[in-house]
Amino acid sequence: MPQATAESSEQSTMNTAKADSQQSAVGQAPTAKTASQLPKEVLIKWLYDMQLIREFENRTMQAYQQAKIGGFCHIYTGQEAVAVGTIGCTNADDPVITAYRDHGHALARGMTPEACMAEMFGKTTGCAKGKGGSMHMFDRPNWLFGGHGIVSAQTPMGAGFAFSEKYQLEVIGIGKKKVTLCYMGDGALDQGCFHEAQNLASLWDLPVIYILENNGYSMGTAINRHTANAENLIDRAKGYGIRAAKIDGLDIMNIYNEFKPIVDDCRENSRPAFIDLKTYRYQGHSMSDPQKYRTKEEVDQYKDKDSIAKLCSDLMTMGHIDEAGWKSMRKEIADIVRGSVDHAENAPTPEPGELYTDVYANPEKNLSPTATYSHGTKNPLM
């Protein structure tokens, strides 16, 4: 089994001149809440969002098999606690960017299932009006900057959002202290631009957190076959003087407890962080993966530690929900997701003329020898 089961988590202290400023964050610790102290509504919302993602992905797979969805389609099932838990530690206007396995982040960030499903159906009511597809979930009102298909291309951009917010605050004098979350798969570790991004983020004190969704595989390649010293990834980040931690990503309460202080600290002290979040994907890499690289037993082992089941049982123990409540929640979600499929089915396909819109914000003449560009219809999310 290529991936350690990270029961414990380990944190570094920052190995830089900034170590002092860390103290203040530690100073705040007493006032910080642990997950179990959070209001019931918050915890129930986590469960709801995780189940929403799971149900949504079930329907996505169905629709894909019915050829209603095309292209590459990467299912988030199994990793729900990561998106919901980490986004649960942020503010609604903290920038978020991720890779192509992005439905979970979109929903956790507040995109409607309709906009998300319609996008995959290639319809005008999709978040990118059908131009982006599964890999390109953008949601401006919810501060989601994609959905990016080129492995690791989002990592310099992650630093860029942190830079931008800092610039706006310090140079223009608008905005506020923000943290950017930048998600990445373990395969993205091996791209050079991630190294460049980490160096820049550390050098320039950018509040960006790289969240490694370490599901143990880059497509069919187990992590120890694609990245060196895979058991100890946080050492690399420390090499840049970046705070780093390894967190069990299957238990959302644990994620909150370990991740929230880091978010607060990065925001307060304007520093980057790197989190190795151990998780697992239940489905293949994309919809066309025969999965010969792993055993059914391995998958089952992880399913036994399912993050939704775990949160549900925790919440039952805490008395926040009961069997009936859970059942009705699932029913409600099932209806909503089915509704999103119906919506996507019935939404209009783009007019042929939409091919030539949204290419330029200022579509002057003679930009192309063969095309005449114009402004697109208003994006439904705006």
């Binding site: 095309g70 131009k131 880059s218």
Partner: protein, 359 residues
């Protein structure tokens, strides 16, 4: 059979005249007709496997080529036959492994680098454009770079804008490299075998949409020389110049047009650098009309280049302006209908030919 002498690893072709491949004339190549029907992907695999059996300097590296048997099953079974030292799974480090392979080629090995998609080659643009095609020149003839870069090019099925690149329009600008773009399984095998033996860097473009295409591919070994177009269809109304996947669009369009009494001639260029301009001229002298069908964006594309060379070489034979039909000049859309409209599909070809022929 073609004699393709093994080039000794200690003889660098640039130093003395290399023992160049000896090619049979087209009519002595094995027949394109037959009943050994295999897929495009199998033809590619066969080309690589045959060369690897003969020459231990040849190896394959790329993402998922080994244990996964290839993201598109092109290298299926090759790990079993050749082992992990010659069929090599790489991390997602295109710049890193392309750069490594270039160094290996400089020392006499014959790497085949698979890009899962040419769309992912931009992160490796520096080594593949600055090093591979220029090493011979920069080193004053000391080090060449016998390497093949290959992978899917062009739109797959709804892969949207970052995953649907036709890089040929960009990369063909660079001297020092060669470029092959087959349109069918037979040519895929013969061109890839030539590419592996060529002492220069070859950019070899496949298409996800053609990997399942089936045709007769001879079991025997054969090498298709670079720079020789194939007349995919004879006709006299107009010359269609194309390469790669759109050749098939042209063939489809030709059926419709034939029914209207318009007989088009279709040239499948097979290689872009070298470009068989003589065959184009010959055909244009017959038809006096030409349309270049290219699945790249139009601006400064191979189509623009072909039009320009036609002007340079047979301007006076043209009845009307040489024309081009490219992919729509926009990022690749996801939605199925938009993607279809975006491509130089048969309907668009039919329309374009009609208006050129009836003008």
């Amino acid at each position: 059979m073609t004699t393709m002498p093994m080039i000794e690893s200690d003889i660098h072709p640039a130093v003395d005249n290399p023992p160049l491949p000896v090619f049979l004339p087209d009519d002595q190549l094995p027949s394109r007709e037959g009943d050994r029907i295999i897929q495009f992907r199998e033809a590619l695999r066969e080309a690589m496997s045959e060369e690897m059996r003969k020459d231990k300097r040849v190896f394959l590296l790329g993402e998922e080529v080994a244990q996964y048997n290839g993201a598109y099953k092109i290298s299926q079974g090759m790990l079993d036959e050749f082992g992990p030292k010659r069929i090599i799974d790489t991390p997602i480090s295109e710049n890193g492994f392309a750069g490594m392979a270039i160094a290996a080629a400089m020392t006499g090995l014959r790497p085949i680098v698979e890009f899962m998609s040419w769309s992912f080659s931009f992160v490796a643009a520096d080594p593949i454009l600055n090093n591979a095609p220029k090493m011979l020149y920069m080193s004053g003839g000391q080090f060449g770079c016998p390497i093949v870069f290959r992978g899917n090019d062009g739109a797959g099925g709804q892969l949207a804008s970052t995953h649907s690149w036709c890089v040929e329009a960009l990369y063909a600008n660079v001297p020092g490299l060669k470029m092959a773009i087959p349109s069918n399984p037979y040519d895929a095998k013969g061109l890839l075998k030539t590419s592996i033996n060529d002492p220069d860097p070859v950019f070899f473009m496949e298409s996800e949409r053609m990997l399942g295409d089936k045709a007769h591919v001879p079991e025997e070994e054969y090498y298709i020389p670079f720079g020789r177009a194939r007349v995919a269809r004879e006709g006299d109304a107009i010359t269609l110049v194309s390469f790669g996947r759109p050749v098939n669009f042209c063939l489809e369009a030709a059926e419709t047009l034939a029914a209207e009494g318009i007989d088009v001639e279709i040239l499948d260029m097979r290689t872009i650098r070298p470009l068989d301009i003589e065959s184009i001229i010959e055909s244009v002298k017959k038809t006096n009309k030409v349309l270049v069908v290219d699945q790249s964006w139009p601006f400064a594309s191979i189509a623009s280049e072909v039009v320009t060379q036609i002007c340079e070489r047979c301007f006076d034979w043209l009845d009307s302006a040489p024309a081009r039909l490219n992919t729509a000049d926009v990022p690749t859309p996801y939605a199925k209908g938009l993607e279809y409209d975006y491509l130089p599909n048969p309907e668009r070809i039919v329309d374009a030919v009609r208006s050129l022929v009836n003008a």
